[in-house]
Amino acid sequence: MKKSFVLFAAAAAVVLLVACGGGSSEPAATTTGETAAPKSMVADASSYDPKRGEGKFNEENTKLGALDAALATKGKAIAETKCLSCHKTTDERLVGPGWKGVTTRRTPHWVLNFITNPDPMIDKDPEVQAQLELCLVRMPNQNLTEDDAKQILEFMRQNDGAK
């Protein structure tokens, strides 16, 4: 009895649904199919120059002279707010690697590019990728201006004993 009743009910529902038909059965057309990732997220290693990095700075527009102590002092102040939570000025790693020796390991324009434009470089630079495997935290973009970056570089040079 029970079984037959349920069957009846189900059959009735089916009949009704069929009888009603109703709404169109056309599949919904999709208008725009692409879901392109933002350019910065695409790792295109082929055109990447690991000596220069990626950004506004290159060998031509980055000429260094004698250490500018006043500039370095400004750089230190910015670094204390924006960088030194994660980097020590020794060679000891905190969240990111220590700064000691960074200006001898990297070209100045690479440093300037990296600190002003970190995201694409984290995606493309083989050495930064290796660093990320150790640190696991992507270096944040701290929205440094070009002047901020140059001042920080000067502080890094001072930290490395440049005269």
Partner: protein, 664 residues
């Protein structure tokens, strides 16, 4: 029903299924009302942006939500009048003053309507206003930050429903009282049945500073005691006028459902606000002693302040005769909407079976000719026919609200017959009608209240959802339904649930908002918070009596300091957390165990404060609540709480484990 269930479970099940089947067969049901290309019209591919921002009132949630159109995707819920522990709104020390009122801290309200700021009769994308219905207030939300920037309380008011409608350059946002009440400067301790003698209506004209949006109650109009319901400003030719729907002209004080529905006609009150400005300038306003809070958010200090103000200027419209005129309008008018040309004023009598459309030109002539039907409580009543353009006959049941497409058509919502009806303003003929599911209240067309509607979509906001979504127990979501109105016929293309109860909503083209100079981060260099910590070298803990101030920083992924000792029972601890990040979309969160408080969500470059009063001795963990990096689970720390009078010194550190103690 209950008893039958007991005995006839199976047959009932079958009947229910049959009933469902039959319901599905009703014409224009959910399935057949949606055309085949509806999905494509409402589809916005992953990673693509919507065409419009849609700002939707949250009703009894007290908040405002932001959806994308046509996708119906919810992008943000902006806390306005209600506390929001998720965002620390009303819990952090900085935000508490935003919810201050003359009655003290009020944690909830009922936000009914939204109004986007305008320049030359077009939405300008600067601000969106919202009204608090219960404890009368107006809020201004800054569309560069999507944050409530200002809240002003409205004295002499009760039930701020007729609000926050604005003029075509946002010269004023109005706030008309729903409940008439005795004014604030006289005793309200009078018998309720003295309504006619003692109760007054007040309408606040709140000016908006063109540069920074700051609000100020320029003046209030004191009116006879009635209920003000909704309003619209004149525009173009009728700029300088404002129109308010009124009901309860019976002046009933009980069972309004019956007693305020006696008269065949109530009124639309036409206000010549330019004239009111003249009287104000001529010193005809009376300074009245009141008390109201004015709360402002400061973007430099990341902190709100609340000021209690004590005076407002009132113009009595029964004495200053030529400010206000009543136009008879059938059956308790609700919506009162002005078309894009400014010529036609549509009244929607919620109990009427027709829609009267008034003409601004005819109204001006009627006033010039003194074509009056006497006075109501000292205010001239214009002859109905003298102001009437015409009536839409048998449009539907229970007309509520009307918006416009700028092509000569009006769209009116019908609560009782659950439909949207499109009609031609000039010839008053119905063009099309579509069902809503169910019991539609407001409707909204992008720019549909302005001089320049952008009439691609219409959204209907429904009060009742019933079977539209998967059931969720007794309480169901309210809903919005999206219609394509680009053609002659309206077509439903989407429906989606909403937060709270959506009353009115407005929309603006996406580009107008996203290119308005939106803020992505707070520059840490510009942070003027008195307890900012600009770098870990400045992190510290300072005791001032029993107050302990923790100057703390957060960055992916640690706090500094993250070990604190020397806090004692009886202390009040203030965590002033500065997020040192300077990248978009990297907030940090902060929570501490047992805090009778919410979390903090701190935006990049921002400083926010959580007050914590420890209630026991012990070890209290704190952690970051907003997933910030692969090492987010490591972003944590400890605070040790010792007994009152303990001599544990106040210390703090990060990254330096003190020499381990070998014994207790």
């Amino acid at each position: 029903m209950e008893t039958t269930t007991k005995y006839f479970k199976l047959p009932l099940l079958a009947t229910a299924m049959l009933a469902l089947g039959f319901q599905a067969c009703k014409p224009k049901n959910a399935g057949s009302a949606v055309g085949g290309d509806a999905a494509a019209k409402a589809y916005v591919a992953p990673g693509k942006h919507d065409e419009f921002y849609n700002f939707v009132s949250g009703g009894f949630s007290g908040q405002m939500s932001v959806y994308g159109l046509p996708s119906g995707r919810l992008m943000r819920v902006i806390p306005v009048f209600s506390v929001d522990p998720e965002k620390g709104w009303g819990y952090s020390e900085e935000t508490k003053p935003m919810l201050n009122t003359s009655s003290g801290f009020v944690p909830w309200d009922d936000l009914h309507h939204v109004e986007m700021s305008q320049t030359n009769g077009e939405i300008d994308g600067k601000w969106v206003f919202g009204n608090a219905n219960n404890t009368p207030r107006l809020a201004r939300i800054d569309l560069k930050t999507f944050k409530t920037a200002e809240i002003i309380e409205l004295p002499n008011s009760a039930g701020n429903h007729s609000s926050p409608f604005g003029t075509e350059n946002s010269e004023y946002i109005v706030a008309g009282t729903r409940f008439s009440v005795p004014p604030d400067d006289v005793s309200g301790d009078v018998p309720i049945n003295t309504y006619k003698q003692n109760f007054k209506g007040h309408i606040s004209f709140v000016s908006v500073n063109k540069e920074n949006g700051e609000m100020d109650i320029a003046f209030q109009l004191r009116t006879p005691g009635v209920n003000f319901d909704l309003a619209r400003a004149g525009k173009a030719k009728s700029h300088g006028w404002f129109f308010f729907s009124c009901y309860n002209t019976e002046q009933a004080n009980t069972l309004l459902e019956v007693n305020a529905s006696q008269r065949d006609k109530d009124f639309i009150m036409a206000v010549n606000w330019k004239k009111a400005e003249e009287y104000l300038k001529a010193g005809k306003g009376k300074k009245v002693k009141v008390k109201y809070a004015h709360n402002k958010w400061n973007e430099a200090t990341h902190t709100a302040t609340s000021e209690i103000k004590t005076e407002v200027t009132v113009l009595d419209v029964t004495e200053l005769k030529d400010i206000c005129y009543f136009i008879p309008c059938p059956k308790s008018p609700h919506g009162c909407d002005v078309d894009p040309t400014g010529e036609y004023i549509v009244g929607s009598g919620k109990l009427a079976a027709l829609i009267p459309v008034f003409s601004f030109d005819k109204l001006q002539k009627a006033i010039a000719d003194k074509a009056y039907d006497g006075e109501y409580e000292g205010i001239p009543v214009v002859k109905y026919e003298a102001a009437l353009h015409g009536e839409v006959q048998k449009p539907g049941l229970g007309p509520l609200h009307t918006e416009f497409d700028g092509k000569g058509n009006a769209y009116t919502s019908f609560f009782v017959s659950s439909e949207v009806v499109k009609w031609n303003i000039k010839d008053l003929k119905v063009v099309d009608r579509v069902p809503t599911y169910y019991s539609v209240g407001h409707l909204s067309i992008p720019g549909g209240n302005t001089r320049k509607p952008n009439a691609k979509y219409l959204v209907a906001y429904n009060k009742i959802t019933k079977d539209r979504y998967l059931p969720t127990g007794p309480e169901l979501a309210q809903s919005a339904q999206l219609y394509d109105i680009s053609g002659e016929k309206m077509q439903m293309i989407l429906d989606f649930p909403t937060i709270g109860e959506p009353h009115y909503a407005q929309s603006a083209p996406a580009d107008l908002i996203k290119n308005n100079g939106q803020l992505k981060i707070y520059k840490i260099g510009d942070n003027k918070h008195p307890y900012v910590t600009k770098g870990e070298s400045e992190a510290k803990v300072v005791r001032e009596g029993n107050k302990v101030h923790v100057y703390m920083t957060s960055i992916r992924s640690h706090f500094a300091p993250d070990n604190i000792e020397g806090v004692r029972l009886g202390d009040e601890v203030y965590f002033h957390v500065t997020n040192l990040e300077q990248d978009w979309d990297v907030p940090h969160g902060f929570a501490v165990k047992g805090a009778a408080n919410a979390e903090l969500l701190i935006m990049p470059g921002e400083t926010t404060t959580l007050k914590w009063v420890p209630d026991r001795v012990g070890m209290f963990p704190m952690y970051c609540t907003d997933f910030c990096s692969a090492l987010h689970q490591e972003m944590q720390g400890y605070i040790r709480v010792s007994p009152a009078g303990s001599n544990v010194p106040l210390t703090y550190s990060v990254g330096t484990n003190k020499p381990a103690e070998t014994k207790k």
